[in-house]
Subunit: 267 residues, 2 copies
């Protein structure tokens, strides 16, 4: 499929892409988003497949990694759009990156009827970097599902996806979930961290699947939800600081589970 | 000491504060920075003591937590400046926060001659949120020192300090450190994580003090430095993702050490 050049900022497709790049509301409404940079585009090709569109800047055309991606897009009959660098830069938030974007559809998944597989539940997590780091750690730890309450940052924004480093394509992510309702239909333990809890995370058996519950950066998990957790555990501290960043906390939890599983089921 | 109102944006002290708020270069040059919000100001009073100046917005004067901070500043003979809200807002990056700032001196510490206490070494870590999360986790894990290479984000920027949540005041932070040189003078093991390493972090004895080495978000630890580490370990993964965010990785390492120490030296 021939590469299609666009050179005018008044081109209707370009204007549509620019709106998606700038507006979180447009991304939600259209059910589409942009993947920024070589790594995310490679991950998408590997884990999902054909993008709606590949968009590349003129200078980036000379890059070897980009050439490989363009060949793969061509194999999949995905259209590639070529932009002058200045038009490309208006679509990208990555400075000094390699100028390639994918336009993709954000998956619209039907929520499963109950919690039965290893999962993360996010109650109003605000920061895109935290959200991205949590899904990245979750995917690395072999967790399969992410459930987000209303009020959690949008899972498919460019910032979240950059921080997620491709984890989005390995997990099933459900948004606008009524977590209280979901917690009534769970077949597995639900574990929340709380600095007020007595039980140490190291003393909880994590060799079986669990659902992890994390909350808002300032306020933590809402009280009503915290009561629905089957276990409240603390990450013990040795220093005089009250709590960890939510993404750091999540990483400690997920990899304590990995450690226990590897010890319990040696390879 | 009476509270001093400033109402003009042309006031020379206000102009000086505004420069510090806006310019990382000015903060480095002056050796001064601003702490933003109730939590950081409270931590500073508790861990360090008297600020150079307390700055408060008119509306925030009615807040109880602010009133407590102002009383403490008065006890310590620290000057408080009162600003109309619109002047205060031009100094602060926190939206919807409580309008209080401290002006403080950034500690200028003489670098210790060798590595002999538990420490974190940061090689060109770029992201303020990552840096802040790492020092927060380090302080919670009882680590005492942080050594930063040239090219690491400035430790005392408002963004880093917000993410650090007061950890800055519990740790000795050394900037512009020649890490290769420091690694030649170490009395303790130096541990770096690497996805190419064979040894699992869970199999390394971490009951004694170690220095942890973490690197640039994209490039990792520079090869020359990685070779100087006494141990290279991997955080084993169960999922199909290559690596963790550097702050997530640091949290897993620090709290694996906490776990081992708590197991080895039960309370």
């Amino acid at each position: 499929m021939p590469i299609k050049p666009i050179s005018s900022r008044d081109n209707s497709l370009y204007k549509e892409l620019k709106l998606l790049a700038a507006s979180s509301q447009a991304r939600r409404k259209e059910g589409r988003t942009l993947l920024d940079g070589v790594h995310l585009c490679e991950s998408y090709l590997l884990q999902v497949g054909k993008p709606l569109l590949c968009i590349v800047g003129e200078t980036a055309m000379r890059n070897d990694e980009v050439a490989t991606i363009l060949r793969r897009c061509d194999d999949l009959s995905a259209q590639t759009i070529l932009l002058p660098d200045h038009l490309f830069n208006a679509l990208s938030q990555v400075e000094n990156g390699i100028d390639i974007l994918f336009l993709i559809e954000t998956p619209q998944l039907a929520q499963p009827p109950c919690l039965s597989r290893s999962a993360v539940l996010l109650d109003r997590v605000q920061d895109p970097g935290n959200f991205g780091s949590i899904v990245r750690s979750a995917a690395a730890a072999g967790i399969e599902q992410v459930f987000c309450s209303a009020g959690t940052t949008f899972a498919w924004s460019p910032k979240v996806m950059r921080a997620g480093m491709g984890a989005h394509f390995l997990l099933a992510i459900y948004e606008h979930v009524d977590l209280a309702d979901l917690l009534e239909r769970t077949d597995i333990p639900v574990v929340a961290t709380s600095s007020h809890a007595q039980q140490r995370i190291y003393d909880l058996d994590l060799t079986q699947p669990v659902a992890w519950l994390f909350g808002h950066e300032g306020q933590g998990v809402a009280d009503g939800l915290l009561e629905c957790a089957t276990h409240r555990v603390t990450i013990p501290h040795l220093g005089a600081i009250e709590s960890l960043n939510v993404a750091a906390s999540a990483a400690v939890c997920f990899f304590e589970q990995v450690r226990q599983r590897m010890t319990h089921y040696p390879p």
